[in-house]
C-alpha cells in the first residue's frame, strides 16, 4: 500500500470541491510545476517517486523496467489463479487509481473498470496510456489480449518513457537509458519469434481462448479453433455442441500438433478438452492472461511461451505450467 501523502500542516487547504481536493493531493507529488489555477491552492513539494499503476501486471512490469528507481508501480490485476475477464474492483483499487500519476491500461473493454474509476476521481495531473489508443484499434476489436502481439510492448515502453520524462524532466537521461536497455532485451524476443517462424510456419494448433492468438499469428502458427468457440469461452457462455464436437475432432484425430490451454479461463468444456488432448497425445502448452509471477518479466514470459511451444513441437512434451 502506498502511504497517502497529505499536504503539510502549514498549508491551508481550502474546502473546495472533491475534484479540487483530489487534484491537490495528486499534484502535491508532482515535482514539475503543474499549477492548478482553477483551484488556487498551493502545490506541495514531495520526494521524487512517481506513482504509477499498471492495470495488468505485465504493463506494471514494463512501467517498472522503464521507470526504475523513480517510480513506485502497482499492478491491479495480477492474481494468476483468477480470470481477469471477471475482475471485481475493490476500494483499494479505487484509491490506487485516484492517487496515481501515470496509468497504463489495456482498453478494448478488457479493463473497462479503469475508465470508470478514473472518471470517478478526475485529475488533470494523471496521465493515462491506453494501449488500444496507442495501437489505433477500434472498440470492436475482437481479441483484447494486445500484449501478446510482439510489436505492442516496445511501443508501450516508448510511450511510458515519454510520459515519465514529462513528469520528471530532470531524469530524462535515466529513462532514456532504461528504455534502450528494454528495447535491446526485446530484440532477443524478436529474434526468437523469427527463428520459430522459419522452422514451424504453417503448423496447425488448437486453443481454448484467444489469449495468445496475436503471438501465434506472429509465430506463423495456424490456429484452427473457430474464433466463435474461443470468444464463447472468453465471455463465459457455452460454446455450441457443434463447435465442441469440432474441437474434440481436432484432438482425437490429431489434426493439430499443440493444444494451447488458457490456465486463467477454465470451464467444464475446457477441462474436458484438456483431458482429451492428454489422452489423444496432443501436447498441451499453458498460456496466461497476466504475467505469471514470481520469476518472470514481460520478455522472459514471452520467451518461456515460445520455448514451451518449441518443446511441444520438437519433442511432443507438454508444458502444463510455465
Amino acid at each position: 500500500m502506498i502511504p497517502l501523502r497529505t499536504p503539510s500542516a502549514g498549508h491551508e487547504i481550502p474546502r473546495t470541491s472533491r475534484f479540487c481536493r483530489n487534484a491537490v493531493v495528486a499534484t502535491s507529488l508532482v515535482l514539475v510545476g503543474v499549477t492548478l489555477s482553477s483551484c488556487g491552492s498551493p502545490v506541495a513539494i514531495s520526494s521524487g517517486v512517481i506513482r504509477a499503476v499498471g492495470a495488468e501486471n505485465q504493463y506494471a512490469n514494463v512501467l517498472a523496467q522503464i521507470g526504475g528507481r523513480y517510480v513506485s508501480v502497482r499492478a491491479i490485476v495480477s492474481n494468476p489463479n483468477t480470470d481477469p475477464h471477471t475482475f471485481e474492483v475493490s476500494t483499494r483499487v479505487a484509491q490506487l487509481i485516484s492517487t496515481a500519476q501515470l496509468v497504463v491500461q489495456n482498453g478494448v473493454g478488457y479493463d473497462a473498470f479503469m475508465n470508470q474509476l478514473e472518471s470517478a476521481s478526475p485529475s488533470s495531473s494523471r496521465d493515462v496510456i491506453e494501449v488500444q489508443t496507442l495501437e489505433g484499434l477500434s472498440n470492436n476489436t475482437e481479441n483484447p489480449h494486445l500484449w501478446y502481439k510482439p510489436s505492442t510492448m516496445p511501443r508501450v515502453a516508448r510511450a511510458i518513457a515519454v510520459d515519465l520524462t514529462k513528469l520528471q524532466p530532470g531524469h530524462a537521461r535515466y529513462f532514456a537509458t532504461r528504455l534502450s536497455a528494454f528495447s535491446k532485451s526485446v530484440n532477443s524476443l524478436t529474434v526468437a519469434v523469427a527463428t520459430f517462424k522459419k522452422k514451424y510456419e504453417g503448423v496447425r494448433v488448437a486453443t481454448t481462448e484467444p489469449v495468445a492468438d496475436y503471438l501465434l499469428q506472429a509465430l506463423g502458427l495456424v490456429n484452427v479453433t473457430p474464433f466463435r468457440f474461443q470468444a464463447d469461452v472468453m465471455n463465459g457462455i457455452d460454446p455450441s455442441p457443434e463447435d465442441i464436437a469440432f474441437q474434440q475432432g481436432l484432438l482425437t484425430h490429431r489434426k493439430v500438433r499443440v493444444f494451447l490451454y488458457n490456465e486463467q479461463v477454465s470451464s467444464p468444456v475446457t477441462v474436458s478438452l484438456q483431458s482429451l488432448a492428454k489422452s489423444s497425445g496432443v501436447p498441451i502448452v499453458a498460456v496466461y492472461e497476466t504475467m505469471p509471477t514470481p520469476g518472470y518479466d514481460y520478455q522472459s514470459w514471452m520467451l518461456a511461451e515460445i520455448a514451451a511451444l518449441t518443446r511441444a513441437l520438437s519433442t511432443s512434451r507438454s508444458t502444463v505450467r510455465i
Binding site: P226, V233, D238, S240, P241, E242
Partner: protein, 302 residues
C-alpha cells in the same frame, strides 16, 4: 426432415448425453411435479431451486461437480424449510420466502467469490440457466441412480402422500404420519430440483417441475393418467428444446447457438397454453363441470 434434424445431431456426444439426461430429469420432474401441484407447493419448489442455486455456486467455488452442489443445497434447504414449518399451511409461504431470500443472498456471495478468486468462467450461466451440452457423460450413472431412488421412494409412499395432498385432515384420521410423509416428499422435491438444475439451470428448474404437470392436470384429473401425460410433455419439452438449440447453430449466419434452457421453457409454455385452451373448450362443451375429480385409492389403515 433436414429442417428439423440438422447434420450431426445423432452423432454428437454432447447431444447424446443431453438427450439421456433430459429424459431422466423430465421423468422425475414430471412425477414429483404432479404431487407438487396437487399439494400446492409450487412456491416451495421454486424456493428449493434458489437453494439449489446457492449449492451449485458453492460447488463451483469449491471446485466440485455442480450436481453435488445442486443436490446438497436442495436437501439442506428442504430440511431448513421443514424445520421452520413449511408443512403448516399457515405461515408456510413465510418460511419458504425466508429460506429463498437467504439462499439467493448466499448464491450472490458465492458467485462473487467464484468470479473474483478462481479461473472459472461461465459459472453464472451454468448455475442459473444450465449448460446441458457441457455435462460430462460420466455424470449419467449418478443421475440414473438418483432418479431411480426418487421414483422408487415415491411409489412406496404414493398412497399416504396422495391422501395427505388432497385432505390432510382425512389423512390424519386414517393414521398417516403427515410430518414424515411431508418431510420425505420435500427431500424428493429437492433431489428432483437438483437434477433438473443441471439441464436447464436452477432458476428455470421450476418450469420443468410445474409446467408439464400443470398442463397434464388440465387434461386429466386421474392421477395416474396425469402423471403419464406429464412425463410425455416433460420429455417432449426437453428433447425438442435440445433439438432446437442444436439446430439454432444453423439458423443464423454467425453460427451462434442459442441456449437450451430458453427452448425448453418455450415449449413448456406452448404446451401449457394448448392444454389450457383445450381445457376451456372441453369445459364449455361438457356443461358445468364439478371441481377436479381425483380418484383416491384407499390408504392402508394403521
Amino acid at each position: 426432415m433436414h429442417w428439423l434434424l440438422e447434420p450431426g445431431l445423432f452423432t454428437n456426444d454432447s447431444v447424446r448425453t443431453a438427450f439421456l439426461l433430459g429424459a431422466m430429469v423430465s421423468l422425475v420432474s414430471a412425477v414429483v411435479g404432479v404431487f407438487t401441484v396437487l399439494r400446492a407447493q409450487s412456491f416451495a419448489g421454486h424456493a428449493l431451486t434458489d437453494v439449489a442455486m446457492a449449492g451449485g455456486a458453492g460447488a463451483s467455488l469449491a471446485g466440485v461437480a455442480p450436481l453435488l452442489g445442486f443436490l446438497g443445497g436442495g436437501v439442506l434447504g428442504a430440511g431448513a424449510m421443514d424445520a421452520i414449518g413449511v408443512l403448516r399451511v399457515k405461515g408456510r409461504d413465510i418460511a419458504t420466502g425466508v429460506v429463498l431470500g437467504a439462499a439467493t443472498g448466499l448464491a450472490a456471495l458465492f458467485l462473487f467469490l467464484v468470479a473474483s478468486s478462481s479461473a472459472a468462467t461461465g459459472s453464472t450461466q451454468l448455475i442459473l440457466f444450465g449448460s446441458v451440452f457441457t455435462v460430462e457423460a460420466s455424470t449419467l450413472p449418478y443421475v440414473a441412480g438418483l432418479s431411480a431412488l426418487v421414483l422408487t421412494a415415491l411409489v412406496f409412499i404414493r398412497r399416504p402422500l396422495l391422501l395427505s395432498s388432497l385432505s390432510s385432515e382425512l389423512a390424519a384420521v386414517r393414521g398417516v404420519r403427515l410430518r414424515w410423509v411431508g418431510g420425505a416428499f420435500m427431500i424428493m422435491l429437492a433431489v428432483s430440483v437438483g437434477l433438473s438444475s443441471i439441464v436447464i439451470g436452477s432458476i428455470l428448474s421450476t418450469a420443468l417441475l410445474i409446467g408439464p404437470p400443470a398442463s397434464a392436470l388440465k387434461m386429466s384429473s386421474h392421477v395416474t393418467k396425469a402423471v403419464s401425460i406429464a412425463v410425455g410433455l416433460g420429455i417432449a419439452a426437453t428433447w425438442l428444446g435440445i433439438v432446437f438449440a442444436y439446430d439454432s447453430y444453423y439458423w443464423l449466419p454467425a453460427h451462434r447457438g442459442l441456449p437450451v434452457s430458453f427452448f425448453v421453457v418455450f415449449v413448456v409454455v406452448i404446451e401449457f397454453s394448448f392444454a389450457n385452451l383445450a381445457y376451456r373448450f372441453h369445459a364449455r362443451r361438457v356443461a358445468p363441470t364439478t371441481s377436479a375429480r381425483v380418484n383416491v385409492e384407499p390408504v392402508g389403515g394403521r
